[in-house]
Symmetry: D2
Subunit: 299 residues, 4 copies
């Protein structure tokens, strides 16, 4: 069953019988249909936040044994299940979005060691909402959380399970206002040499990792308003990561016949920045002439 086929209207969900309701919410929680079953009686849900609150209350009062089973229903990150193709479709897509299916042997070993240390310390798998993180940030989370005490970490794992659920739910349910689980990364190029939006500037967005790794994840060309037609990242969380925006300014001014040095003083302008709030709006504009520029976190 394709992901697209599985969307369901909130109104329809609210009128579903128990079996239908549980099927419609299948996979929102990994291997745990009991969560959906438990909230069926609370229908109708006025909106998605109420449904998420019902999920959170159910899990919060479920008792230690069920909570532990819920946690253990999740796969290791970048683990053997991933290599063997045994993940649920949702888990596979999420791990891929963070690049966990493209690890080098060294990185795979590092995840393997961290998974083992984590299991040895807490006796359950490491769970993190990977769609909110880049690869570097996941490793940082891993190491930070290894220092937690058991109770703090149990609560952290349940909170991450609810974040994962919220993102899945936001894509599954239609006919309702979106949950505030998505962020945005956008840009805007102003040509202050000519006093108008810069039309036709090629832009790339790369995610940076480690020493020198740069993976281009989005791109486009500015339109007559100086913006890309769609945000560089939108409709999803902006992963906590370091980024580099690259503006092909030299080619833009060459195309306009504007006098530049040879070679041009500015050619590809790189802006490096980090995202800390995946649900935030990051607007990173460029005000440029052939001889200088300004950038800032805008809104």
């Amino acid at each position: 069953m394709s992901a697209a086929a599985r969307t369901v209207e909130l109104a329809a969900l609210n009128q579903s019988a128990r079996a239908e309701f549980v099927a419609a919410l299948d996979g929102i929680f990994e291997n745990a249909p009991w969560v959906a079953e438990a909230v069926h009686g609370q229908r109708p849900f006025a909106d998605l936040p109420r449904l998420m609150e019902a999920f959170a209350a159910t899990i919060g009062s479920a008792g230690a044994k069920r909570q532990r089973a819920l946690i253990e229903g999740h796969p290791d990150l970048a683990g053997k299940a991933a290599r063997a193709g045994e993940l649920t479709a949702a888990s596979a897509a999420e791990q891929s979005s963070a690049g966990l299916d493209r690890l080098s042997p060294e990185e795979f070993d590092r995840f393997h060691r961290l998974n083992n240390s984590y299991r040895a310390r807490f006796d359950f798998p490491f769970i993190v909402c990977v769609r909110r993180h880049g690869k570097e940030s996941i490793l940082a989370q891993f190491e930070r959380r290894l220092a937690n005490d058991a109770e703090t970490e149990r609560r952290t794992a349940l909170a991450e399970i609810l974040r994962i659920a919220a993102l899945r739910l936001d894509q599954r349910i239609t006919g309702a206002d979106r949950l505030k689980v998505n962020g945005r990364l956008s840009t805007h190029v102003l040509d202050t040499h000519r006093g108008r939006p810069a039309h036709g500037v090629a832009v790339e967005l790369a995610e940076l990792a480690g020493a020198g790794e740069a993976r281009v994840i989005a791109g486009g060309t500015t339109n007559a308003d100086g913006r890309t037609d769609t945000p560089l990242i939108g409709g999803r969380p902006v992963p906590i990561a370091r980024y580099e925006l690259r503006f092909h300014l030299g080619a833009y001014y060459a195309g306009l016949g504007v006098s530049q040095a040879d070679p041009p003083f500015l050619d590809v302008v790189p802006i490096r920045f980090a995202v800390a709030e995946p649900e935030g709006h990051y607007h990173v504009p460029l005000l440029a002439t052939p001889w200088g520029y300004t950038t800032y976190r805008g809104s």
Copy 2:
């Protein structure tokens, strides 16, 4: 004899007998003591520009045979002589400054092929004042000049020989105003969050080449006035090349205890630019807060 030992006062040079005069100017022109000999009778020289004019006039009127011998007295760029350690000390230092002694096998082959093409076309070695160029720019010059006709190229080679001589002369002769053969590359960091110069920002300058090659060639930490104590490049031409300045802004604001995001929105700020005039003054300042910055070609 060390380079330092060989400096000579202009006043002393002006009073030298012929043999002493020629010895003092040994190597200003590669394997061509006749140029110094020919101008000895025109002493005294009021300043270095007059001495350079005398050199230029002597070479310009020397006749085709001597001009050709002068050109042929130069080694191939990045050629076998370089590999075998058979260059004059001056040539070796100059080729090293442009990185021609650190070529990869592929680059060495590319120079080898260009040298061969050039010799086949013009029947003399390719001469360029390498201290005015980075590696990429030398290759660009090579390819551009292969398209010249023979007469243009002969004049270009002689002009480059005079540029090489001027730089050597400027380092050899003391007690006179410098020739205008040197440029400067400097920076300045203003902390517009606090309204004062940024003191203690680590800065690196890398020369860029090819796809992804970045060689750190200078660095420092800003002083109380927001500047490095000495220019990043000074007292020499600024090679025609692409550069990246890197400002360690995140560490600077962290050291001051200024509130930043986690990770900080800006950490290492890269400014990429190209130099087109080796004798120019390139001042590339940064006006920064933790949330944005401005840069430009200043003065």
Copy 3:
């Protein structure tokens, strides 16, 4: 009959009988109902541009005598009729918007002399679409157009009559896309000291004229997004004039408890600029810290 009461749906207009049609368009052209009468037979008009085209064609082919009568149906600018309160309501509102009802005796005399010179030269009243101009710009137009030849000036006067009509029509007719006769003047304040929109900055817009005259014409306080809730000028042409935006930055940072000098280095920040295209979008943002700022024509 109030202006608001006279709006009419385009669909209703298209179905009107001749008398009703002419009444609905009364005053679009000053004292010239024949223009509306002439286009009645061309109904229905798909949109406002088609209606304007029909008006333009009618006037263009009307013959010299009717064209002259149309021109002569207009009052003098800032003339005796204005002082005596004898203008049509539309003319009075338009002249007031440009400040022509608040002239000093010296300015009134200057208009009087220009009106006389113009009449002496062209034998008809000076007509300009005053909603597109500030007082200074009207005077500049007056002087510039006095240098025209008679034929050029006759065509210019008819073109201005069509501009006046378009603005009146755009306010009169509902149920149709707007004509592109309006511009916009907006601002946006980014606090680059704190990396977020500046919320709560008082802003004023003054129109400048002559030596030192500054009339505050709009104002507001920035909202959580750093913008005023409505554009400073919108839904009308932005008069060709010089302006000063004033941002109360010192009070904003004082309110936040941000450390400033005493007195603060920046307090009220003035940005002076001129508008040249009344139908354009002028976005004039401020990126500010307590120690510096950037502004530019944005979009």
Copy 4:
């Protein structure tokens, strides 16, 4: 005796007999030759700071009666003595530099009332080092100090007397390093449209006061390096005041034939700022294109 004629070498001063020494320092303290007499025995003074320290120690230990006489030897600010031309030459020049000889009747009355209140409260004249203040700042000082208790105010008056003396001494004594009593106000215009210093931009500096008063106090035209040939204020304290720098940018770009709107978007660019440290260096640059600009407190 003219001010210029009275300069004296520190070396000569150090060798002076008592009468000569006192004469050379005449007027450093207003009507109080005893201060110079008291320090004569401590010659030689290695530098000006040592001489100032000796003055301060002498006054500090002089006893209440002599201190009061010293204070009472000063004229009222903008008082009757000023109107009647009865000030010492030094006092007259200082009061003039702050504009206290150009008061409107209303301002004169305000000073008169403040002088009376101050005398009524403290029984001695108000003393302030006027060369460190603009007119507004003097009035602010006046009102602030009226709230002091008697002992605090007595010490404040003596401290101001030493500030006045230091400035007079710095102009009187030659052949020694300057005291750090002077500040500087400078500017720099970068043309980021063309990537070079802006040569030929007319600049004015006005001191602002009250509601709308603006007095042009300095000006110049930028040279090839984008700076005025001399600082706008230098070799003296920069008065605590509000200022407006005005850059004639529209005329500059018009002169270069750079395409601008009609009227130009930017014409005269005003930068308003305040000075809080009279001994500081205020560098206020402009980075400009015809469509935007950046300014900041630089160094």
